[in-house]
Subunit: 239 residues, 2 copies
Amino acid sequence: MAGTNEYVYPEKWLNKASAGDRVASELRMRIISGQIESGSKLSENQLAAEFSVSRSPIREALKVLASENLIRLERMGAVVLELTEKEIQEIYDVRLLIETFVFERLVKKDNQELVKELSKTLEMMKIAIKYKDPDDFSFQDVLFHETIIRSIGHSHIFMIWKNLKPTLESLILLSMRIRFKEKYDDFDRIIRNHELYIEAIDKKDRDLMVKSLHQNFDDVQGSVEDLWTSQQTFSKGVE
Amino acid sequence: MAGTNEYVYPEKWLNKASAGDRVASELRMRIISGQIESGSKLSENQLAAEFSVSRSPIREALKVLASENLIRLERMGAVVLELTEKEIQEIYDVRLLIETFVFERLVKKDNQELVKELSKTLEMMKIAIKYKDPDDFSFQDVLFHETIIRSIGHSHIFMIWKNLKPTLESLILLSMRIRFKEKYDDFDRIIRNHELYIEAIDKKDRDLMVKSLHQNFDDVQGSVEDLWTSQQTFSKGVE
DNA sequence: GTCATAATACTTGTATACAAGTATACTTGA
DNA sequence: TCAAGTATACTTGTATACAAGTATTATGAC
């Protein structure tokens, strides 16, 4: 796969991925980071040439991105949708919706195993910080939330997560890369937030959970703003 | 498209649909109705032969069904998943989750247009009942809920709906076909429920909304049970 | 210059071909 | 009879070919 631009999606996350998955992951990152401007038109042939693959994997990738609301498939070409403040807020809404649902299930369960698993993931996050690896950190961060959601064994709620995950992953990845450069001490707070979240689950403390959840959201929210400003820096002036 | 079985999905809903969409819709109906037993293995070549199309649309259809949790794509072949009581309950959960979210948004808005639209749809449902057309009725029933969800202009909540819709549509379709034959007077109650729902939106009455919502769910829930029993009748004895 | 029409260069959806990998069945040796 | 290895018939993922449709551009009549 050789194109005009460098690849921004971590290659190590694409071990056994098909060409279609690779293209989808890469395009997603470029769209969310603003490297591909909203309103752009993507055509299958053009992308196939750019990524040096055939149309088959490209079609697959476009279907995926359309299901994530990042592009809209039209008669001729796919248009890149804008990731507005409203969009970010909507993702926030959905996360709040499913994570509170999940928590209501958690308080009715024994979560000893879950807490142990989360603690492990948190330790990994700390290591990632220590070695200044934003990609590893993001991976563990996403995994943290996925572990919680998966734990209640609700396949439809998990489906909603699966749809949301790629976008969220890209957002977190992009913002963490910036933070590792610019706001390194933010991570103390992020770690403490996650500790609070674990504690909330362990003690089945609703108030604590909602509090840490909101703070966690604010983290991403804040990061997104960083992302926008940073993006303006490297892409071009604002309109 | 010629196969061994009759097609159960309404052809008139497939006007401009691609071959992939047709196959997906038909397979979905057969899986949910139990015509294709859970645990069966589907292969692309076999399906391509059965539907007299190439593998391309089949691949597309399988991806769609996998995203709806109706099949699981494995290394070799796709296995048909079971639609258990638990699954039905989960769909119920998600509907409750998004429709209550939607209602919270509705109480902050002016819904005159929406109420008018819903009334129109309800009139159509009555006509469908009068002319004993379960397919038309199901279409309007699904449209009724889609109209409500769409009205708040929340693209991510709508995405969740879009994922849920095909399964729900199939469930409603199958159960309504049975009811039109066996329990014709159920429809009085269903219509009254929808009237209550409209009233709840119009008066922004949370309690009324929750009440009618639950009754509406119970309708589908009940229908599903009908579906299972009826299915046992025509497919084969229970294990 | 302007409008209508025709030619061209796109587009998508589907069919087919091929390569690489995996399970099944079958042989072969003891 | 059974184990090990090989052949065969599957499987998926990708590339390519083709048909039908749509936008754009060029052409020509007025």
